[in-house]
Amino acid sequence: MADKRRSNVVIFTCSWYPAIAADNAGVTNQQYPSDARIITLACAGRLTPALILDAFGAGARGVLVAACKTELCHYVNGSLTCKEIVEETKDLVELLGIGAKRLHLETFDSEDGQRFAEVVSEFCGKIEKLGMVDVDAVPK
């Protein structure tokens, strides 16, 4: 039975290939699930573990990080830093009972809107199967 509680999938994109790809997805009328919410950062390298955890804390069911392929990063090591951060945060997300499957990093090497839409759709589909995150109510 589908959970009626509202919950979204947060997508952090850097402002280069992923952001342009996201726009192109719109330009070419690709379709992906409407629970996706895109937040664009200047560089994926500024993504801290706290921001990812905050996304889950705000209620997100899944977090997708979209960065440029590490060799193509316009800021040189931003994408590589992001990769390390996502790995570290996956460990934290496991400890927190959320599960590393709900956090995923995908790298892009082009502005292809279709690929963007496919990646988002696939991730949202995976998250849909995982359902909502298990949260306890505060005891009285």
Binding site: T48, P49, L53, G57, L96, G97, P139, K140
Partner: protein, 410 residues
């Protein structure tokens, strides 16, 4: 939900009006020594003379370590800790955000705990250990598993302390409950002004422990110990279980003969020559001379939360004293005068705090000890972090007391 804290009432309650401006607080404060903009006395002065809201705006509100050195010495018995804490709660309610060290990751984790996320935190438990899901004794591991991830950048793991604790408990016949759904005890949120979240954490933890059927909760962390013992009852009323620090449990068992000691394994060699005329260098076997080897000198960092805030200083020393071959040399500032490790509640973690840490490490080194023994995982982390940058020569090994005891028992 407002905290219902009334600043005026708090001032009365904490006796801030009693301040006689003697300045002993500032003179004692480890932060004031390195941060010219911070001073406990100045705070009280600002409060009493200026508009009440001004201190809520003050950035220095977040520099206080809540170590209680000022209060312990204040002749007017002003309760600075409570006063600072209340001010922080009000500051947050008014929208003045404090500081979050580590880009807020610890704060995020604790927030998620308070929001009810169900942690799965028992991957640290070594297979050889005996634990259970329900029982009378509950071992509260706290945030150690998270520290293992976050402090990879100073190459420090903290869960070995937990493993050592459970191993020792097993040795003295205790099979503790270890729960994977443990949430942060809330110490940091309590002291940094997140009142609502703190209450939620308290409720979650109480339920968890009662559901496990536990009658006693054992801590390795002094902050958790203090929070459960002194703060939880103010929010939850009767807890329904006893709270104890592991060093007390071990000391009791040792006195009954259930814990047998031997010279500790794996310690750095003695730095003093063995005997007159038989100058031995490091690495030479200690049994060569045929007589008792010189003791390994250690010094001890009193945790603020055990020492000053609970008056608990002797138990840990007695335990250390039971380890053969180890001699405790006190730092000049010990027990009630011990200096805080410099970073508390993941708020302030700035240059001034590093100065405090480096100063404390230097003080430890000056005792001639080769090991600084800590009894608090936080002290261990903060002092190790300061040491890691190698700014000054403060190279002294830092060891947790529980691990040291484990290395010293049969």
């Amino acid at each position: 939900m407002a905290s219902e804290i009334d600043l005026e009432k708090k001032i009365e309650e904490t006796r801030a009006y009693n301040c006689i401006e003697c300045g002993i607080c500032t003179g004692s404060c480890p932060v004031s020594r390195v941060n010219p903009d911070f001073s406990p006395r100045l705070f009280v002065e600002k409060l009493l003379l200026g508009p009440k809201d001004e201190i809520l705006l003050d950035k220095e509100l977040w520099s206080c370590l809540t170590c209680k050195t000022c209060s312990v010495r204040c002749p007017a018995t002003v309760d600075y800790n409570e006063f600072m804490r209340a001010a922080r709660v009000l500051a947050r309610e008014a929208g003045y955000e404090g500081v979050d060290s580590h880009a807020g990751v610890l704060r995020s984790i604790m927030e998620l705990h308070a929001k009810g996320f169900k942690p799965k935190g028992t991957s640290w438990v070594d297979e050889s250990l005996k634990t259970r899901k329900t029982g009378e004794d509950f071992y509260f591991v706290g945030c150690l598993p998270y520290f293992d991830v976050i402090f990879r950048n100073i190459e420090l793991t903290s869960t070995p302390i937990a493993n050592a604790a459970v191993k020792l408990m097993n040795k003295v016949g205790i099979t503790p409950v270890v729960s994977e759904n443990e949430r942060c005890c809330g110490h940091d949120f309590f002291w940094s002004g997140h009142n609502d979240e703190f209450e939620k954490l308290a409720k979650y933890n109480q339920k968890l422990i009662l559901d496990a059927g536990a009658k006693r909760v054992i801590f390795t962390c002094p902050e958790g110990y203090h929070t459960f013992t002194k703060v939880y009852p103010t929010v939850l009323g009767k807890l329904g279980f006893e709270v104890v620090h592991i060093t007390d449990v071990l000391l009791e068992k040792a006195k009954k003969g259930e814990l047998k000691f031997r010279p500790a394994a794996g310690l750095p060699p003695a730095t003093a020559p063995l005997r007159e005329g038989k100058g031995a260098g490091p690495g030479e076997s200690q049994t060569d001379s045929g007589s008792a080897p010189a003791p390994i000198k250690v010094t001890f960092q009193d945790p603020c939360r055990m020492g000053r805030m609970m008056g608990h200083t002797e138990g840990m020393r007695e335990l250390l004293g039971l380890i053969p071959g180890v001699e405790l040399i006190e730092m000049p500032r010990n027990r009630q005068d011990a200096v805080c490790c410099g970073s508390v509640e993941w708020v302030s973690c700035v240059q001034c705090d590093k100065e405090i840490q480096l100063g404390r490490l230097a003080e430890a080194k000056r005792t001639g000890a080769s090991i600084l023994v800590t009894a608090c995982p936080k002290c261990r982390i903060h002092l190790t972090c300061a040491k890691y940058d190698k700014d000054r020569d403060v190279d002294i090994e830092i060891r947790d007391i529980v691990s040291l005891v484990l290395d010293s028992v049969e």
